[in-house]
């Protein structure tokens, strides 16, 4: 019976052959576990989409009712707290593992020719996921959301020349209003996930086009020099994607999902206080991935310098990351053979961790 169904499809669209072609992709063998982050992120994104769709059954993008809707989901919808928790912790986990994924790619030089476009597609995905996180934070509709909208649109307003326009467009008007929530909602739920769904296939297609090139340790037996592009096409040993690599992907996915699930059930998603625009004792706080930039905002006093933390440093930082493959055009891949890049990368991560920790310090208390 099963065989007949399979034959029916094979006669028409060669289904078995297609699946085998897809699954038979050769993956470098030694670094298997290090290559699981990409598929882990695809998995986490799928979880975000699924949980997000069903949160929409109850959510209303309207200040301040949005916070009531979130509250309702958490406390009155059956397993709503779990769904909301998975959406929140899944988002945090996703941003965290994008950073790990990027660091892995950076330190193993995997962005180098011929894989520059993959890095750029990945950077697009990274930028969008961060914006998805920030907009999601705003949609909760609590007090933090309100101030985050105000602070971030004010940050954007310091972009040279068009800053004021950006702020008005982002807010959907001159004030933070009902239209602001509607705009953020549309961006978070339709626009950005759409772009992510477009770029994930591009990212994957590019991997298949350039071939699966692994870390330097895959090429120990190769006698070719690092400058020879052929070297990187022929790892010492490979395994098929299915089941060898997929098996590892699944184990990692389960492990991470278990952590997300436990966090969702045990800690859950904090709803935070209702928004009180007249509150005098409230210290807004960003999500952990924004704290580094938040901390930067404190360092540049005065009128002339405010453009540094609001526009120049973030945009130059992201810009440099985007064009990284075109700045670093050497062919060595091992982190030990390119100490400058490795040291710079470690320093960058240390600065990021330091700023995040400093930004997470308790804020000035309401009364001193």
């Amino acid at each position: 019976m099963f065989k007949e169904i399979q034959n029916w499809f094979d006669e028409r669209i060669e289904l078995t052959k297609t699946i085998e072609e897809f699954n038979g992709e050769r993956i470098p063998r030694r670094g298997g576990w290090a290559y699981t982050f990409g598929s882990l992120l695809a998995f986490l994104f799928t979880v975000q989409v699924v949980t997000g769709i069903f949160l929409l059954f109850y959510y209303v993008p309207y200040f301040p009712i949005a916070r009531n809707a979130t509250y309702f989901i958490k406390y009155h919808v059956v397993f709503g707290n779990v769904l909301l928790g998975i959406h929140l912790w899944g988002a945090f986990t996703m941003i965290f593992f994008i950073l790990i994924h990027m660091a892995r790619v950076y330190f193993s030089g995997a962005y180098k020719k011929p894989r520059e476009l993959q890095w750029i597609a990945g950077m697009v995905l990274f930028s969008i996921v961060v914006i998805l996180g920030l907009t999601g934070y705003m949609l909760v509709g609590n007090e933090n959301s309100w101030w985050t909208i105000n602070v971030l649109t004010n940050v954007a307003s310091h972009t040279p020349f068009i800053g004021g326009f950006i702020r008005i467009i982002a807010r959907g008007g001159t004030e933070t209003s009902v239209l602001t929530m509607q705009h953020i909602f549309a961006v978070h739920v339709w626009l950005l996930p759409g772009i992510v769904m477009l770029f994930i296939p591009i990212h994957l297609f590019l991997i298949r086009k350039t071939g699966h090139q692994g870390m330097a340790l895959e090429y120990k037996n190769s006698k070719l020099s690092d400058d020879d592009p052929n070297k990187w096409r022929h790892p010492d040993a490979t395994v098929p994607f299915f089941p060898d690599q997929f098996y590892k992907d699944m184990i990692v996915a389960l492990g991470v999902f278990a952590i997300v699930y436990i966090l969702a059930v045990v800690i859950g998603a904090p709803i935070g206080p209702m928004y009180r625009p007249l509150a005098l004792n409230f210290a807004p706080e960003g999500d952990w991935y924004f704290l580094a930039n938040e901390e930067l905002l404190k360092y540049f006093p005065g009128h002339g310098l405010i453009i540094f933390p609001t526009f120049l440093i973030p945009s130059i930082g992201f810009g440099l990351l985007f064009v990284l493959p075109f700045i670093d055009r050497t062919h060595e891949r091992s982190p030990f053979k390119r100490p400058a890049a490795t040291v710079l990368g470690i320093l960058f991560l240390l600065v990021l961790v330091y700023l995040t920790l400093m930004g997470g310090e308790p804020k000035a208390p309401a009364t001193v």
Partner: protein, 172 residues
């Protein structure tokens, strides 16, 4: 029968030009209304209203002891009329002059509060500090506190949802 692109290279060019043209026409025709919808907020004027804050004679405060008074602006926003609750910080100077500040930090708009022990306004977000006269005394704020546009008529104080000396319409 028309020639195929493989039979005539000029036919091929012609087809490619037509394909390009059609894509451009559809693209432009779709982009114009989409751009209009996205940029629409730029063409709307801020709804500026006068709102009564209270009686002037009730403002019996000590000099340099700020008083926070809420004000509720009813303004049109998109398709609805909304109430924007905002804080007015009233400060009486030593000379007896009244100043009407906003409680929005001039750095990035967080709500400042008065710390009596230090005689300063503190911003909880990035550590901005202002003295009772609204001048920056510490932290990153680029300018002194915003002052509301106000007028005093027949013993009543009116506030407008607009700041004095704020050409870029920041804050609010």
């Amino acid at each position: 029968m028309a020639k195929s692109s493989e039979e005539s290279s000029s036919r091929r060019t012609f087809m490619m030009v037509i394909i390009g043209l059609i894509s451009s026409i559809i693209g432009v025709a779709l982009t114009i209304p989409v751009l209009g919808v996205v940029l629409s907020p730029l063409f709307r004027k801020r709804d500026i209203v006068w709102t009564k804050l209270g009686k002037f004679s009730d403002l019996e405060i000590k000099p340099l002891a700020p008083k926070f008074i809420p004000v509720y602006f009813k303004v049109k926003e998109g398709w609805s009329v909304n109430t924007l609750p905002r804080q007015v910080i009233v400060v009486k100077t030593i000379g007896g002059k009244f100043l009407f500040f906003s409680n929005q930090c001039t750095h990035l708009g967080c709500p400042i509060h008065w710390v009596p022990a230090r005689q300063k306004f503190l911003c909880p977000c990035h550590g901005g500090m202002f003295n009772a006269l609204g001048e920056v005394v510490g932290g990153p704020p680029p300018r002194p506190l915003y002052k509301w546009v106000h007028k005093i008529e027949n013993d009543a104080v009116y506030i407008q949802n607009k700041f004095i000396d704020n050409p870029k319409d920041r804050g609010i």
